[in-house]
């Protein structure tokens, strides 16, 4: 395709709505998609899902931020996983929107900092739909905050310019799970959720997550034509160009 054609063709984001997925299984899916994206076999792809209760660590393996013995996690119905993403320890669970964009940063020409700021902005815009005034973290506190309470977390891996892992936004998870860790390695700061911060009625989780996903798409491709295709177990659905 020559350059002019490339500029004219709409940027596609394929969205996979996966429902609740075991953490290890999602890692395997991501690895395969990263490899496919690198080889240009697939377009930019966004995974939209939730996890059963799971604690995860990043590349630096900061397990000193897990405050209870690993053996006790089973009793809580939770698993622990080590990953290659950036960031510290965090918790994922039901009613937390997880979005994993598998996209080529090189083809957009942006780097890690810009990408992460876009993820932050998407979550802030999403929160504003519910009249929750969120903000990006201060230096060294990447993520999305409402006052001094953390509502959205980010942990990303970039391999040959292709992203994996992504963001976790607290819609209405059981916040008690966060008591067993120093979330993201930041002590003395609370974790919060959309449920806690707004009186507005919340939509069904699936719809919430699609809205969050659209915000990400909008943030990345505001000046270009773009379309979203979603792939759910019931078949392929095409959204109108946003």
């Amino acid at each position: 395709m020559d350059d002019l054609q490339k500029m004219r063709s709409p940027r596609t984001l394929e969205v996979w709505k996966l429902g609740t997925v075991n953490y290890l299984k999602s890692l395997k899916v991501e690895d395969k998609l990263v490899s496919d994206r690198k080889a240009n076999r697939i377009p930019d792809t966004l995974l939209s899902l939730q996890h059963p209760p799971s604690y995860t660590l990043g590349k630096r393996r900061t397990d000193h931020n897990l405050l209870i013995p690993e053996a006790d996690l089973k009793g809580l119905g939770a698993e622990l996983h080590y990953t290659q993403r950036g960031g510290d320890i965090t918790f994922h669970g039901p009613h937390q929107a997880i979005l994993y964009p598998i996209i080529s940063l090189r083809s957009i020409g942006i780097g890690a900092r810009n990408y992460v700021e876009t993820l932050e902005r998407s979550m802030i815009e999403f929160a504003s739909v519910y009249r929750v005034k969120a903000r990006a973290g201060h230096k060294g506190e990447t993520g999305v905050w409402v006052g001094d309470r953390k509502i959205g977390a980010i942990g990303v891996r970039i391999s040959s310019g292709i992203t994996s892992h992504g963001l976790a936004f607290n819609i209405d998870p059981d916040l008690k799970y966060f008591e067993h860790i120093v979330p993201c390695g930041i002590a003395d700061k609370e974790v919060t959720s959309l449920r806690r911060e707004t009186d507005t009625m919340l939509l069904h989780s699936e719809e919430m997550m699609m809205l969050c996903g659209r915000k990400i798409l909008h943030s990345f491709w505001t000046t270009r034509r773009r379309s979203i295709k979603t792939n759910s177990p019931s078949g392929l659905t095409r959204f109108n160009p946003v």
Binding site: G86, G109, A112, V156, I158, S159, S160
Partner: protein, 156 residues
């Protein structure tokens, strides 16, 4: 009097040149070679030193962690050999040439920020013994790399 006039006009012409330059901010050094994944290489006989470029460190944000490879490990051109973490993102670092790791910059373990403040000097990452000197031909020189960075930045 004449000397001061000369100084003033030279200063003025210098300022005019600075203002006329485009705002492309990152530093590119002439005597290095560059990979399209934004690593630089300095060749010295059959040894090579590498790190990431000023463009790369600027796009990464503040580096808080550098994962270094073990000594003696082999690296291959274009393949990942380590990673840096910044703003909750780990980014793989790819090897611009193939070889065997003979030295790593341990200082980065305590002071990962050197990658940002001194990407071409104190922020060097590893040194390898080259296994194929011919591979250097596949890399970009400073002019090509500068152009490459401009094109990439123009994409968005």
């Amino acid at each position: 009097m004449a000397a001061r006039f000369l100084w003033a006009s030279r200063a003025a012409s210098h300022l005019r040149i600075s203002v006329a330059q485009r705002g492309f901010a990152s530093v590119v050094l002439k005597d290095l070679k560059y990979a399209d994944s934004h690593e630089w290489v300095k060749i010295d006989g059959n040894k090579a030193t590498f790190g990431i470029t000023d463009h790369a460190q600027d796009h990464l944000g503040d580096v808080v962690y550098v994962e270094l490879p073990d000594l003696g490990r082999s690296v291959s051109q274009g393949e990942s050999f380590g990673a840096v973490e910044s703003v909750k993102a780990t980014s793989d670092i790819n090897s611009p040439v193939s070889g065997k790791v003979v030295e790593v910059n341990e200082v980065l373990t305590e002071s990962p920020g050197l990658v940002n403040t001194s990407p071409y000097e104190e922020g060097w990452i590893i040194k390898v013994e080259l296994s194929d000197a011919g591979e250097v031909e596949k890399l970009m020189d400073s002019d090509k790399y500068s152009k490459f960075c401009e094109e990439e930045d123009a994409k968005h």
